[in-house]
Symmetry: C2
Subunit: 245 residues, 2 copies
Amino acid sequence: MRPLQPPKTRDIAAGQLGSPCSACEIREISVCGVLSPSELERLRQIIATVHLDAGQTAISEGDEAADVFNVVSGTIKLYKLLPDGRRQITGFMFAGDFLGIALNETYAYSAEAVDKVQLCRFPRRKLESLLEEFPKLERRLLGEAANELVVAQDQMLLLGRKTARERVSSFLVGLADRAARRGRLGENLEVPMSRSDIADFLGLTTETVSRTITQLKEGGVIAVPNRGQIQIRQREKLHDLMESG
Amino acid sequence: MRPLQPPKTRDIAAGQLGSPCSACEIREISVCGVLSPSELERLRQIIATVHLDAGQTAISEGDEAADVFNVVSGTIKLYKLLPDGRRQITGFMFAGDFLGIALNETYAYSAEAVDKVQLCRFPRRKLESLLEEFPKLERRLLGEAANELVVAQDQMLLLGRKTARERVSSFLVGLADRAARRGRLGENLEVPMSRSDIADFLGLTTETVSRTITQLKEGGVIAVPNRGQIQIRQREKLHDLMESG
DNA sequence: CGACTCGTTGACTCTCTTCAAGGATAGTGG
DNA sequence: CCACTATCCTTGAAGAGAGTCAACGAGTCG
């Protein structure tokens, strides 16, 4: 591994044999899943792979939206900033998620790696012309956008009306559900983001998040075996706490 | 006018001469604007017009999503409820806005008329099959969804991180911008929604909204000539208050 | 005209934030 | 291998912004 090289980028077309897409582990859960092998090959030709380390930036709010991405592995956080530094994380993206549905001229938010991340990068213009050829893909993106809107509305309800305990419970249940959808049903829930990330996602402070997690721990609802992992001990109870805690 | 008749519905195809779509005032600012006259005629055949009075419900969260709508005139509020009655209004829709982009199996939120409202109703299934014929329309819907996502993210920033004064200022500026986009540049800004609606949109209480508006009034930033109208006297100041007030 | 809803204002309360400090953990370099 | 440091997480005490409870004025409708 070479030492310094900010966002490490490699051109798959130039560097690998066969079609990496056909072997892609997340193809079926991502937007690529709707394409036939020959269509996939067309898509592959415009893709580059990007590797990010924790803390590196994928896109910056306000920049010209030249590329969109598919998350192959790892966790990305999306966020917006106020001039004085207050931050709101608007979402986390995991393997299979599509980053950049908001196909406007500039990015509406910044995106930063939470841990080691691998992305597929598509030049936006090229992807757009592929959309005209593959209506299935466009339909899938519309579905993806619809989903994101539903999630966004749930988050508005959380941010506008829920208590701290309800927010943290909702966050944990949401994380667990998404992990399950990706087939990760381990004993422990992976929580790669920091308390500060969680706080900025839930509209709280790190202190309040920490205190609330302690509360849930003391109530026996969850356990915290290691940093970065949480065990849900009383799923039902946690579910109840989401909207009446 | 006949007395009781919950959501009054009339079938345009059966009841009117000519194509009402071609004379539609909001066509150009709505999704219909991308269609040619002949395509518009195809669309017209699946449309019914719906009239709602203030307080009447267009769709209810959880119901099967049979129809989608285009707002012709008036104001609609979208909201989600918690079991104990806490409400979060996730958005307001005005003339030209498309209601129901979240094309899932059930509605993710409820929608209620704020004032007198006229809607175009499309059966979802029929619209979906038209989408396959008119890729322009699908593309336009995707753009609309992307826009809504951007707005939703701004709202998350507001709900998670802004103070009461910043929220109210943002709300007023946002209302004014949307009115301007619809060509309504009058001296006064129309504010058809109640304080309670504004509060539930901004994640505040009616009392806090009221006190904040009073503050802005006392600061000379706005004036409140009548109920339902607000005059923005210092546009720059209000803009500044959106993110550092 | 009385009942109702809506908006405003006041006094008090409370949840979450702010400020502060200590403890756990991981990475670094001698 | 172990001190050294930086960062993250946790906990405590005090404070503030918005919420709650309550009352009142204004406009509206039957």
